[in-house]
Symmetry: C2
Subunit: 200 residues, 2 copies
């Protein structure tokens, strides 16, 4: 931890200025070109820093995307913890982690969903997190056919639950306890993860 805090009037050349310049450049490029169309190098150029400094401060491009959003929760860290445990019981861990992380910040998440879906912007940050962090990571550990489609459907279940609980606030889901949601919702998600798909 070398840098000063981010408020006040930092001296020139100071860590905080460079971090801010990187975040500003990243935010504007992600918004204009999307996650896939933005490179660490192009951000470094715009921010006037060496590209290695971005890795040093933020790690990878996904962590940088998340940093631009100033979220109260770090989805990269959360998802990587959940994924590390493998597919066994993944639905339950995913759902419980999601609820534990977002229930205390439901207004933030509600605003994120509302602005993401309301804007119709294909480069909206939440959309990029869903695609490049949630779906990519889940798909990476699935086995069997249709991994990408199954991972996208897992994301659909989480996004739908969040939309109904936090934004639409439909009861009894809006007030249900996390344990009940996990108990009822996780088995269906797990079935999608396992890829055992006999039709009824």
């Amino acid at each position: 931890m070398t840098g000063p805090t981010r408020r006040g009037r930092p001296r020139s050349g100071d860590t905080s200025d460079r971090r801010t310049a990187i975040l500003d450049a990243a935010r504007s490029q992600f918004a204009a070109r999307g996650f896939a169309g933005t490179s660490m190098r192009s951000i470094a150029t715009q921010a006037g820093v060496d590209v290695s400094l971005i890795s040093h401060y933020f790690g990878g491009k996904d962590a940088l995307l998340v940093a631009t959003m100033q979220l109260p929760v770090d989805p990269v860290e959360k998802i990587s913890d959940v994924i590390t445990g493998g597919t066994d019981g993944l639905a339950e861990r995913l759902l419980r982690t999601f609820l534990d992380a977002w229930d205390p910040h439901r207004e933030v998440f509600s605003t994120l969903i509302r602005t993401t879906l309301g804007s119709g912007d294909p480069h909206a940050p939440l959309l990029q997190v869903a695609r490049n962090i949630l779906i990519v990571n889940v798909a990476s550990i699935l086995e069997g056919d249709d991994r990408d489609l199954r991972a996208t459907l897992v994301a659909s279940e989480l996004i739908g639950m969040a939309a109904v609980r936090y934004v639409m606030k439909l009861e009894p889901l809006a007030s249900a306890g996390p344990d009940d949601i996990v108990r009822l919702y996780a088995p269906g998600i797990q079935r999608l993860i396992d890829g055992s798909v006999p039709l009824t």
Copy 2:
């Protein structure tokens, strides 16, 4: 027939005028008071018609709500067909009917979701349809515990799928064929419908 119609000066007694007056009154009351807070009687009073005329033209209050939305698809009719078949294979019928109905009108549905979630309005029409038509009807045929919560979670899965497919347009779900979606997504929804919920 006591009151005047609300716009223009139509000839008295014209069917089309009376339908329009009822729809105008219904739209304004659903928007101001929500579905539960609006009665057929209060709509009749505002429209200046006898309450029996509303039933005659539109059937019930739910059908009237849908009529105010001028949708290309009639969710009341679709859901009632799906529900009539009982819980056996319900997830597959629900999902297939949903996709068949909305895939050809994906832009309409996308706009509905965007305006519903973007507005934050607790009386938004799509929200009222989800709650008073989809969830209520599904809950009515579920067995076992937690019916209302399970029905709300079934709605979450449909809403999430629609949000990701039509609004966020995340691939490969955005372009996937209905058969693949039904094959992969229906079993998890069916599990929620059946209420067999052993944890993994």
